[in-house]
């Protein structure tokens, strides 16, 4: 069995869902494509997941569920998403329950928990309005105070699962004076409000996730009891922003599932297709494209896992960390899907050829991830406003409390460390205390230098890792300098250059995450991971954001990486730094068992 406990649920779910290329299985490519073509909501799949009791893993243990860490959570969301982002997103609107786990009363928590577990209930998030989009404070939906509750009026649109859900989290204006305290959040239970006072809006036809219940909801003089308000009156915006910190980080898992399938199905094609007497994969250019895609997935993996664990270890820094992955991971993996489409050639554009046409569906479905839950610009905006404080705290913290910093990084990045319980109350609207991940570069360089005595390591690879990590640090210094010197203004008229700085910050954060992931897990993620070529190549790849190739050390050979890619593919393992077992085609189940065990325990 997989030694890392946080992957057990993902593996068990995979096994029970079965091989997606077997058309008879519940979330097979064939089935999800058929549903997509018919633009039908995936009721059968959702029911299957409820029967499997996956919803329990969205409910923290103290609220009666099985959720313990986001680390575990993102692994199983990847499993869903690699098969079908439509169902993954439809089922995972349940992660809005975090608003209640964070801010609800005991009664509200009990209600929601039993609604999810016992009534197979789902919720939706109703923030957006047709006229306002990202501008939440401009809300036209009103909640007017009356004895015992509020009267809701207005329309939310476009809302995923607005129609097929029993609980709607509605952000509404409770104070006409406006301002940051003018919004309140309501956990509206549809079963307890008068059906005469609300209507669902018609299905919205979308480019991807076509089977989704995209619609909206309109309230007309709808009485909602006070017990449906989450938290105090006026804390709506604060809760919304903290809730986004959670869901934005989790969005990365949707992208990772999608990128896995895009790469897997393309690799399958490249390994099978013969041209000029060879396979496509044997040609250097396609091979390089696929190997690079694999590296991008590994980089994103390091960033996402770091943030997921950071919720437990460093909640006060998550306002920055979650913005980093929501930007970096989703946009990087969108590019990965685009890049590999070239190798799939004409089939990427066909709706039925090759694995039932799953690629074109991934391409369409995946395009929404970087946009919803706060678009790329909104997300970068949230980050760039914090850059000045980050730069200051980096200077202030330099060289201080190295031992505790080291201990926090270890707890975050060493995947064998058990995590403290997550406490949503510790999330902060803006980063407190700096960004450990970038603060720790100095420590990382010391640890890397200590490895020079390790005879198991290839010295050329280590040397490159050290050199490239130094470059990451130099770039960070340049960035800090730029931040201190640059012009900046409040509000929404930020210079595009400041957005660029924010993007670069994300790249550096991701690079540092890769370095710690390697340093702290070299002894428990197998030989490929330990040898570090992937890390040197990944760091080099990331540094291309800052420097031309000729200003970087020469690219190491990537044969080990492309071999690992093929090995994971042929053993049906996730493309990941923790290549957990995916469902096996039925006939292979027994034969590959021994190899699997060896790989993960190596």
């Amino acid at each position: 069995m997989q030694p890392l406990k946080q992957y057990w649920i993902a593996e068990a779910l995979e096994k029970d869902l079965g091989d997606p290329t077997n058309p008879n299985n519940v979330m097979s490519f064939k089935q999800v494509i058929d549903l997509d073509e018919r633009e039908e909501f995936p009721h059968e799949i959702i029911d299957w997941l409820y029967n499997w009791k996956l919803q329990h893993y969205y409910i923290p243990t103290e609220c009666g569920g099985e959720f313990t860490s986001f680390d575990e959570f993102i692994a199983f969301v990847r499993v869903l998403s690699r098969r079908d982002q439509t169902s993954a997103i439809a089922f995972t609107t349940m992660f809005w329950s975090y608003l209640t786990w964070m801010a609800g009363t005991d009664e509200q928590k009990r209600t929601l928990s039993s609604f999810m577990k016992d009534a197979n209930g789902a919720m939706c998030l109703a923030y957006s309005e047709k006229a306002h989009g990202s501008d939440l404070l401009a809300s036209d939906v009103r909640a007017t105070k009356v004895p015992g509750g509020y009267i809701l009026n207005g329309e939310k649109w476009p809302i995923n699962r607005a129609t097929i859900s029993g609980v709607t989290f509605v952000l509404a204006k409770t104070d006409e004076a406006g301002g940051a305290r003018s919004l309140s959040l309501f956990m509206v239970e549809k079963s307890k409000i008068d059906p005469a006072n609300y209507t669902h809006l018609p299905k919205i036809y979308t480019h991807g996730i076509r089977g989704s219940d995209m619609s909206g909801i309109r309230f007309e003089n709808c009485f909602v009891p006070e017990s449906m308000r989450l938290g105090a009156e006026g804390v709506g915006l604060e809760l919304a922003l903290k809730g986004f910190q959670i869901t934005r980080a989790l969005c990365a898992a949707f992208s990772q599932g999608a990128a896995d399938t895009a790469l897997r199905t393309t690799l399958k094609f490249a390994l099978g297709r013969q041209l000029y007497g060879k396979t496509v994969f044997d040609m250097p250019q396609p091979k390089r494209t696929l190997t690079d895609a694999f590296l991008d997935i590994l980089i994103c993996d390091c960033a996402t896992i770091g943030v997921a664990r950071g919720f437990n270890t460093m909640p006060e820094q998550i306002s920055v960390w979650s913005a980093v992955v929501k930007y970096f991971v989703t946009t990087t993996l969108e590019t990965v899907v685009q890049n590999v489409s070239v190798v799939l050639g004409s089939r990427f554009y066909m709706r039925e050829e090759h694995d039932w046409g799953i690629f074109q569906k991934v391409l369409r479905d995946n395009a929404i991830i970087s946009m919803f839950d706060g678009s790329t610009v909104v997300n970068l905006h949230a980050l760039l406003l914090q850059l000045r404080q980050l730069t200051k705290s980096r200077a202030r913290n330099a060289g201080r409390n190295q031992d505790t910093l080291q201990a926090r990084l270890l707890a975050t990045f060493d995947l064998t460390q058990s995590l403290p319980a997550f406490d949503g109350k510790k999330l902060e609207l803006v980063n407190r205390g700096g960004d450990d991940v970038l603060q720790g570069l100095e420590l990382a360089l010391t640890s890397l230098s200590d490895l020079k005595t390790d005879s198991n390591l290839n010295s050329e690879v280590l040397q490159q890792i050290i050199q490239l990590t130094q470059m990451v640090q130099e770039e960070l210094k340049t960035l800090d300098h730029q931040i201190t010197e640059s012009t900046f203004q409040f509000g929404h008229e930020q210079a595009p250059e400041v957005f660029d700085i924010a993007k670069q910050y994300c790249v550096l954060h991701a690079a540092a995450s890769c370095v710690y992931m390697w340093l702290y897990n070299r002894h428990h993620l197998g030989d490929f991971f330990a040898s570090g070529e992937w890390l040197a190549l990944s760091l080099r790849k990331l540094l291309l954001t800052f420097r031309p190739a000729k200003a970087l050390p020469a690219r190491l050979g990537d044969e080990a990486v492309s071999q690992e890619l093929v090995r994971l593919y042929s053993h049906n393992r996730m493309f990941s730094i923790v290549p957990f077992q995916l469902a096996q085609p039925q006939q292979q189940e027994t034969t590959t068992d021994a190899t699997q065990r060896l790989q993960l325990q190596a």
């Binding site: 905006h381 404080q389 200051k392 609207l429 803006v430 900046f488 203004q489 409040f490 509000g491």
Partner: protein
């Protein structure tokens, strides 16, 4: 920027004034408007400071005052006057010596002409 000399610990009304003045100057420079036009009794949103900005400005205030403050300070006390009074009278915060600031301000060079200096401005604040 004119700040009162306060070699001794400022009295509470002085402290409120000092914080008010600091905020007026920050916001004036940041938004590129004349400090004279900012009224301490007006909600800050009137000057184009949105909810997220006002969370980040608290970080600057924390650095200056060397105290941990609620990030939502300016949400709950949305005018300069209310926020300053809260800080001094309820949170018991007093600004440290502020005499150096005048010199710091005048010695620092660049002042972005039209755009509001991100770096230029915040750097000039002493004590951080």
């Amino acid at each position: 920027m004119q700040l009162k000399d306060s070699n001794s610990k400022p009295s509470s009304s002085n402290a409120v004034d000092t914080i008010q003045e600091w905020l007026v100057n920050q916001i004036a420079k940041q938004l590129g408007i004349n400090a004279q036009t900012i009224k301490v009794t007006e909600p800050l949103t009137r000057y184009g400071l949105d909810s997220i900005d006002s969370v980040t400005i608290v970080g600057e205030l924390e650095d200056w005052l060397d105290a941990e403050l609620p990030p939502t300070l300016l949400w709950d006390y949305p005018t300069i006057e209310k926020a300053s009074q809260y800080l001094v009278n309820e949170a018991g915060v007093t600004p440290a010596e502020t005499t150096n600031q005048t010199t710091e301000v005048t010695t620092k060079p660049q002042e972005a002409p039209k755009e509001k200096a991100w770096g230029g401005l915040w750097n000039k604040i002493s004590g951080s």
